[in-house]
């Protein structure tokens, strides 16, 4: 099942003109506030009727301006998790969750509800009032409610934005579980690159109502052109890594296609595959194999491209084995080192600088 979106809409102060496809897995709509991301998901959900374009989910046409088709939101069967949860205040948590199934084909399946409640850890909350829940609990209930409506597509509009960092870490494992068991495509809106890097399979980068970059998440995040779009401080590629073993000194040995890394704070079990986020500004380059270094994390790399921007920095695209990532160094260093595409050199990744929260767990890892 895949979603195809091609819409145009004129807002005061913003011209929305967006086209993308979303297949299986998580497609993240990433961009700054005001880029029009929420309007896009509202149009997909049927809460906004665009001026022009076409939206189709598999072979169902949801919206077609030329044909005058605009399927009402109630008949689209698209789950929507809002930033503010939007639980019904007059119903207990259990009734809120059951409401999801109320209008779904086949109605409420008790076994399914039990499974979802267990998956999201909601057993103890069922008799509570939404007003007594924490922000993270509300979002988990909202996830369960959307889930039980048997959606053909799941939309999430900044579901974590209203939460503080500890709450985000609390809900992330649930989101990852949902992603892994979901048989439907998920469109995930966020302006937080750490979230996107952790969850997204595909990435659509939006700016001022336009799609400026899109593709597989690894490809977009290792594209030097993405650097100014995602912000220099936040920019960084995601690399798949295999957890080879957990050492007794608290460091875990990870194998990548282009070498090995030693990282602390890896919670995934040995033998599993995790995602690493390597921030561009945490990567150093050396022409010679470094010796006597305090870091163990050195990968031999090939320079693929250099991208000079407006500032004093240069984004260097590197390949280690099959993985591509970025280093951000100064213009002057690039010149002095004589960096050019095709050169081989060594990348030093400051492992302790990779935030703990950006080490994504693999499927089936128990939270906390």
């Amino acid at each position: 099942m895949s979603l195809s979106v091609e819409i145009g809409h004129r807002f005061p102060g913003l011209d929305l003109d967006v086209a993308f496809e979303a297949g299986a897995g998580v497609t993240a709509l990433f961009g700054p506030s005001g880029a029009g991301k929420s309007s896009v998901v509202n149009a997909i959900a049927g809460l906004l009727r665009p001026d022009a374009g076409r939206i189709a989910l598999a072979d169902t046409v949801l919206f077609d301006a030329a044909q005058g088709v605009h399927l009402p939101a109630a008949r689209r069967r698209i789950g929507y998790v809002f930033q503010d949860g939007r639980l019904f205040p007059h119903m207990r948590v259990g009734a809120n969750i059951e409401y999801g199934a109320r209008f779904a084909p086949g109605g409420l399946d008790r076994a399914e509800m039990k499974r979802v409640v267990a998956l999201l850890g909601l057993e103890a909350l069922l008799v509570r009032r939404p007003g007594t829940l924490s922000g993270g609990e509300k979002q988990r209930v909202a996830l369960a409610r959307a889930w039980l409506s048997r959606p053909r597509l799941l939309l999430m509009d900044e579901p974590l934005a209203a939460l503080d960092e500890p709450r985000k870490d609390e809900i992330f494992p649930y989101l990852e579980r949902l992603r892994d068991v979901a048989q439907v495509p998920i469109v995930y809106v966020s302006h937080n690159l750490a979230e996107v890097a952790r969850l997204a399979d595909d990435l659509v980068v939006m700016q001022r109502g336009q799609v400026v970059l899109s593709g597989r998440a690894e490809a977009v995040l290792s594209d030097p052109k993405a650097l100014p779009l995602v912000g220099i401080r936040e920019a960084g590629a995601i690399l798949p890594a295999h957890v080879a073993e957990h050492g007794t000194d608290g460091l875990s040995r990870l194998t990548l296609s282009g070498g090995e890394l030693l990282l602390p704070g890896v919670v995934a079990p040995e033998g599993s595959t995790i995602r690493l986020r390597v921030l561009a500004q945490d990567v150093l380059l050396s022409k010679a194999a470094p010796e006597g270094l305090s870091s163990h994390n050195v990968l031999p790399v090939v320079v693929l491209a250099l991208h000079r921007g407006m500032g004093p920095g240069v984004a260097v695209q590197l390949r280690a084995g099959e993985d591509v990532f970025l280093a951000r160094i100064t213009q002057r260093a690039a010149t002095e080192m004589g960096l050019e595409p095709g050169m081989t050199c060594f990348a030093i990744l400051n492992a302790t600088a990779i935030p703990r929260g950006s080490i994504g767990g693999a499927a089936g890892v128990s939270p906390g």
Binding site: A45, G46, L47, P72, A73, A74, R75, R76, R77, I78, G79, Y80, F82, D84, R86, F88, P89, H90, M91, Y99, G100, R102, F103, A104, R129, P130, G131, T132, R145, A146, S149
Partner: protein
Amino acid sequence: MTLGLGEAEWAALTLSLKVSAWAVAISLPPAVAVAWVLARKRFPGKALLSAMVHLPLVLPPVVTGYLLLLTFGTNGFVGRVLADWGIVLAFRWTGAALAAGIMGFPLMVRAIRLAIEAVDPKLEAAAETLGAGRAARFRTVTLPLIAPGILAGVVLGFAKAMGEFGATITFVANIPGETQTLPSAVYAFLQVPGGEAAAIRLVVLAIVVALGAVLVSEWLARRVARRIGQEAPR
């Protein structure tokens, strides 16, 4: 002084309760509809509609009563048509219910409109994405959330109907057993020598009924608020 009620007093009390109940029952659905339109819709002439709804509140009740008589009287343009179908309102208790309903209408609309405006349309949008059509959304989300406002409107409308005098006496006169409501009866007893005792009994009765209604509505309001979770700490 005795509170033992005479036949005329009982008749006035039961008639007032019947008239008020019918007045509220008949005006509630249109009050909810008009409140919805005023709270949620934008259209040219909205201010005019709002003014029309509020008219009975600001017009002298006698004027409203006279207008009702002109419209729904046996020679009125609506009354004539209704009379052909065998429906007569003037000088009947049904007319008293109509007058009381119209006088209470603006109060009901106001209370319900405020409640509807307090409902976040985003909750309805959430229900919509879960597959709830327009009617289902209203029934499962909006209606439970505005229940306290509807209750407040019903209490206000009922109280207004119980106390309605000017429009009622103008439209349906003061016929014992047919259109003599509690206030009309008090007025009638005060017009005859030696009627004070009966009038005072009715006044006490009116106070008891009013107090009872307020207490019941407070209790209901608390229950409803608890049911929709408005007491819960945020």
